[in-house]
Symmetry: C2
Subunit: 135 residues, 2 copies
Amino acid sequence: MISGKFAISIHILTLLAKFPDEYLSSEFIASSINLNPVLVRKEIANLKKNQIVMSKEGKNGGTKLNISPSKVTLKQIFESTFEEISLGFSKNEPNPKCPVGKEINQNLSALYTTLNDSVMKQLEATTLEEFANKF
Amino acid sequence: MISGKFAISIHILTLLAKFPDEYLSSEFIASSINLNPVLVRKEIANLKKNQIVMSKEGKNGGTKLNISPSKVTLKQIFESTFEEISLGFSKNEPNPKCPVGKEINQNLSALYTTLNDSVMKQLEATTLEEFANKF
DNA sequence: AAATTTGTAACATAATTTATTACAGTATGA
DNA sequence: TCATACTGTAATAAATTATGTTACAAATTT
């Protein structure tokens, strides 16, 4: 199972890119995603940490982009979710007395780093603007 | 969260590659992974569907490789787990009345297919033999 | 001052992953 | 042939993670 955080974040940002000069409320966004507004606000909190969006509290408040959609890459969006490309690890500590168990996680990590790097390169090659233009 | 199936499968296969001519029991394998033997047998069942391993029931039974480690790629191993590279989707159906909601999943799928292809190419470039030689 | 919105915590529910138990079936070999 | 030691698989339980809900303080607008 993989969480929907990236999908949610990119959905939010696509909406913001489509309404560049408006503060969109978490409720409006939530109704497009079909998601609880609190979860929208939580993802927005992550995007704010990366200065991708800004929000305004109070009446008529909401969220808007803090940077041009042509300057945000999918990589930055992915990174804001704190997720990682990985094919997973076994849950328990493998047996350190076994030559394979002892090193399996380290060898898997090395592999995953390679995969991650290449996926990040691809995500970096697409901007939010380009993504939003598909709609 | 991503399941540990790939990690488990590759751990199993690395052990089998290290003991090329022996039938290893699920209990022996499980003690290296630190995992319940039933789960090991379940993953082995998947590997068998892809003819990567074979097993023998009964006393002194167990599992061994059914193909040279130089002929198995990490891609085949990954595929045996029925998992997929994806950055996820939001759980609920997005709003079909919203221009963004209507197409988001289709646009995400297209992106994920691209990523998947490139990851698969990388996994295809490494054999089990090469992976096992790191230990 | 009333209304509306964000921010966040605390808690509840749902879904998925991992673990356990149980046991029938199969092969080995003493 | 019979005890032993495996696999295969189903059924169920426990643990973990993801998603959803409620509640409310704080901020801002009108």
